[in-house]
Each structure stands twice: as structure tokens, then as C-alpha cells.
């Protein structure tokens, strides 16, 4: 019975079954790597974990209590990073991050260090639409640094990142785990992270 776990999960997208009877479990400080071919349901599972999707079957529980019971609490404890970077093209890099800080009630003074950390300090004033793919991804990663969260749900966090970026990501994961946070991430490339649990999805050959 671990801190964050799901049992017998079934997920449908549209009218199509993605996976059925899937279990996962993660304890404080653990990292879970979702691996699987395209369309096997990694993103779907992460959306289930975040509560953005409802499982057709099964329950996801945090500390024993189903997340459906108290959505506000679950939302408050997690950070989600999807395929899309949620960067506003017409806001500057700093404005983009500052908005999320305000929106999540994170202290203002976390913005500058976060940008520094992901290597975007130089582009602080640049408009979002001027960012390159990897720079945009880095800005998305910076959101994770605004406030410590107990649960990180990251969908291909290293997509478009260069080698430094990947190194940075590993550091972030390590720190989060050291804090006792749980990190669930999907990725196609094998990342050099210490003792990650690997959860392989095959998807349903429909």
C-alpha cells in the first residue's frame, strides 16, 4: 500500500480503449518511468494521474484516499507537464513564468532564480514566440521550480532538450526525490537516472 497508486485502471479515449487493468504504485522519493510505443497510453495515464481524465474503471489513490474524493487537494499537490508547453507567444519569458507564479500563489521571488536555473535568464525579456523549441521546453520546466510539489507528472520532459538540458532535468528529478517528492515521467529515450521503476505499456492492439 504505497503513497501514490492506481489499481485496475482502464482508460478509453473517444470510443477507443487505450489500456485496461493497469496498476502502478510509487512511494515518496520514488521515480516512475512510463515506457512504451507511440499510442500505448503514456500521456493518457499521466492525464489520469493528474485527474484531467476519468478512468473508465479502477481507482487512483493518494495516501489511501481516492483522488476523486478531494480534487482540490490533489490539484494543489501536483505539477503537470504535457506535450504542449503552455507558453504564451505574446508574453515575454519572464511574464509567462510570473503569471504562473501568481496563479499558483507561489512567491514572486522564485521567478528569476527559476529562469536562471533553466538557462533562460538571458532571454528574460524575449517574447514567447521567439523561443526555439528547446527554449520553450526549458520555460515549461521552469514552472516546476516555482513551488515544491509532492507529485510531478511529466510527459516527455526531455523532448527537444539538448544534452545540458537533459542533465539539468536529471538534477531536478534528483532534488525533487530528495525532498520526498514522487516523479512520474514518460520518455522514449533511456535517461540516466538512478533507480527508476520502469512501467511498460503496450497499449491494446485494436
Amino acid at each position: 500500500m504505497s503513497l501514490f497508486q492506481g489499481n485496475g485502471l482502464a482508460c478509453w479515449r473517444g470510443e477507443i480503449p487505450v489500456f485496461e487493468d493497469l496498476d502502478f504504485a510509487a512511494d515518496a522519493g520514488e521515480a516512475l518511468w512510463l515506457a512504451g510505443p507511440n499510442g500505448s497510453g503514456k500521456s493518457s495515464l499521466l492525464r489520469l494521474m493528474a485527474g484531467l481524465l476519468e478512468p473508465v474503471d479502477g481507482v487512483i489513490a493518494w495516501g489511501g484516499a481516492p483522488i476523486a474524493a478531494d480534487r482540490e487537494a490533489h490539484r494543489a499537490r501536483l505539477r503537470y507537464l504535457g506535450h504542449l508547453d503552455a507558453v504564451k507567444p505574446h508574453l515575454s519569458v519572464a511574464e509567462n513564468l510570473r503569471f504562473w507564479a501568481e496563479y499558483w500563489d507561489a512567491p514572486h521571488n522564485t521567478v528569476a532564480p527559476a529562469l536562471e536555473r533553466v538557462g533562460l535568464a538571458r532571454l528574460r525579456e524575449a517574447a514567447g514566440r521567439r523561443l526555439s523549441a528547446g527554449q520553450r521546453r526549458r520555460l515549461a520546466l521552469a514552472r516546476l521550480l516555482l513551488a515544491p510539489a509532492a507529485l510531478w507528472l511529466l510527459d516527455e520532459p526531455t523532448a527537444a532538450l539538448d544534452s545540458d538540458g537533459i542533465a539539468l532535468f536529471s538534477e531536478l528529478v534528483a532534488e525533487c526525490r530528495a525532498r520526498g517528492g514522487i516523479v512520474v515521467f514518460s520518455s522514449h529515450e533511456v535517461l540516466a537516472l538512478p533507480d527508476v521503476r520502469r512501467l511498460a505499456l503496450e497499449g491494446i492492439a485494436a
Partner: protein, 220 residues
């Protein structure tokens, strides 16, 4: 709650990146309104009769012009997921969006209306009623519009259909606004405004919930 205002501020900033943008919105009403005389002739008495209807038409136009973007962009660039994953309830999110939309379309119209009245030769007595009608009807346009925008998000057939149930709801609002003008000019009673006020409260109370539901629906 701070999230609420943060969101309103962000949408305003996105809408009014620079001082210019705010001005553009106001001018937009003048241009659109000034279009009518060219089609219906410059005779003052004629224009003065139409001024109210013109103003309301332009109001509806402004409300609709920016609507589909209200949630669409946030939906497409992934911001909506992030917005939904915060302690702020979706109902307040919907309210914040509608408020920002009104500040970007309704308020400028109120500012532009007197100038519009001037060039359309609105009689002195007409200004008060015009402003009152606009002030009462534009909020509903934004609230209902927000609902419509949320419904078409997933763009599943259903959403589209319901939108066509939403848009016609504009009619009574605008009609009441127009009726209010006549009332102000002493043609009828003043009740249209009372009804409008009632609708305002109703919309304020109901649409956020409906919108929130629609937004959850889009997450399939």
C-alpha cells in the same frame, strides 16, 4: 483568489499588450458604427433614430469577434490543462475569463458610445438610456459568449449544436436593450432595464457553472 485576478490581468495583458491596443478597441467601435451612414444616408434625423440599434449591433459584433479565441488559444497551447490543474475552481476561471472579455469589449464600447452618439446625431435625451442599455446588456454577451466558446472547444458535434442554442439567446438581450432605448426616449415604460438587470444576475449566477461543465467536457 489571487489566481482569479492573476488570470484577469494576464488576459488583459494579452489583449492590450500596449496602450495602442486599448485605443484600437475603442476606435473599432467608431469605425464600425460610422459605416452605417454610408449605406443609409447622412440625414441626421434618420441616423439619430438608428443610433441605438447601431450601437447595440456593434456591441454584439465586438462580443462575437474575440469570442472563439477566448478558450481556444489556451486549449491549443496547453495552457488550459495548466489552468485547470490549480486550486482555483473552474467556475471562477470561467468568471475571470468572462470578466476579462467584458473589460476588453464591453467597457471600451461604453467609452466609445458617446462619441458614436455624437457622429450619429443622437438626441441629448438618448445618451443616458444608450449607456444604461449597453452597460446592462454587454455583460450578458460576455458571459453567454464564454459559455459558447467553451462548448465548441472539443468541437464535438454536440458542442456546435448547443452553441446554436446559445447564440439566439443574444436576441432577447439585444432586443431588451433596444427596447430600453425607446423607453428612455419616453416611448415605453422603463421595465426593459429591470428585466435586463434580472438577466444579468441570472447569467452571472448560472453561466459560470455551465461553462465549467463544458470545460470539463472538453478534457476528453
Amino acid at each position: 483568489m489571487s489566481g482569479f485576478f492573476a488570470l484577469v490581468r494576464r488576459d488583459l495583458r494579452l489583449g492590450l499588450r500596449q496602450g495602442v491596443d486599448a485605443l484600437v478597441v475603442v476606435l473599432f467601435f467608431l469605425v464600425a458604427g460610422a459605416l452605417f451612414p454610408f449605406a443609409i444616408g447622412p440625414e441626421p434625423e434618420r441616423l439619430s433614430h438608428l443610433a441605438g440599434g447601431i450601437a447595440l449591433t456593434v456591441a454584439a459584433l465586438a462580443a462575437l469577434l474575440s469570442l472563439d479565441r477566448l478558450y481556444q488559444t489556451d486549449y491549443e497551447d496547453g495552457s488550459l490543462d495548466q489552468l485547470a490543474l490549480s486550486p482555483l475552481p473552474l467556475e471562477l476561471l470561467a468568471l475571470a475569463k468572462a470578466l476579462a472579455h467584458w473589460l476588453l469589449t464591453g467597457l471600451p464600447l461604453l467609452i466609445a458610445a458617446p462619441i458614436l452618439g455624437l457622429i450619429l446625431r443622437l438626441p441629448e435625451a438618448g445618451y443616458g438610456p444608450l449607456l444604461l442599455s449597453l452597460a446592462l446588456s454587454t455583460p450578458i454577451l460576455s458571459l453567454l459568449g464564454g459559455l459558447g466558446a467553451a462548448l465548441v472547444l472539443g468541437a464535438r458535434r454536440g458542442g456546435v449544436l448547443i452553441t446554436f442554442l446559445i447564440l439566439p439567446l443574444y436576441v432577447p438581450v439585444l432586443v431588451l436593450g433596444a427596447a430600453g432605448l425607446d423607453a428612455g426616449l419616453g416611448v415605453g415604460g422603463t421595465d426593459p432595464w429591470l428585466v435586463l438587470g434580472g438577466l444579468d444576475i441570472a447569467a452571472l449566477a448560472l453561466t459560470p457553472w455551465a461553462t465549467a461543465a463544458a470545460l470539463r467536457g472538453a478534457q476528453v
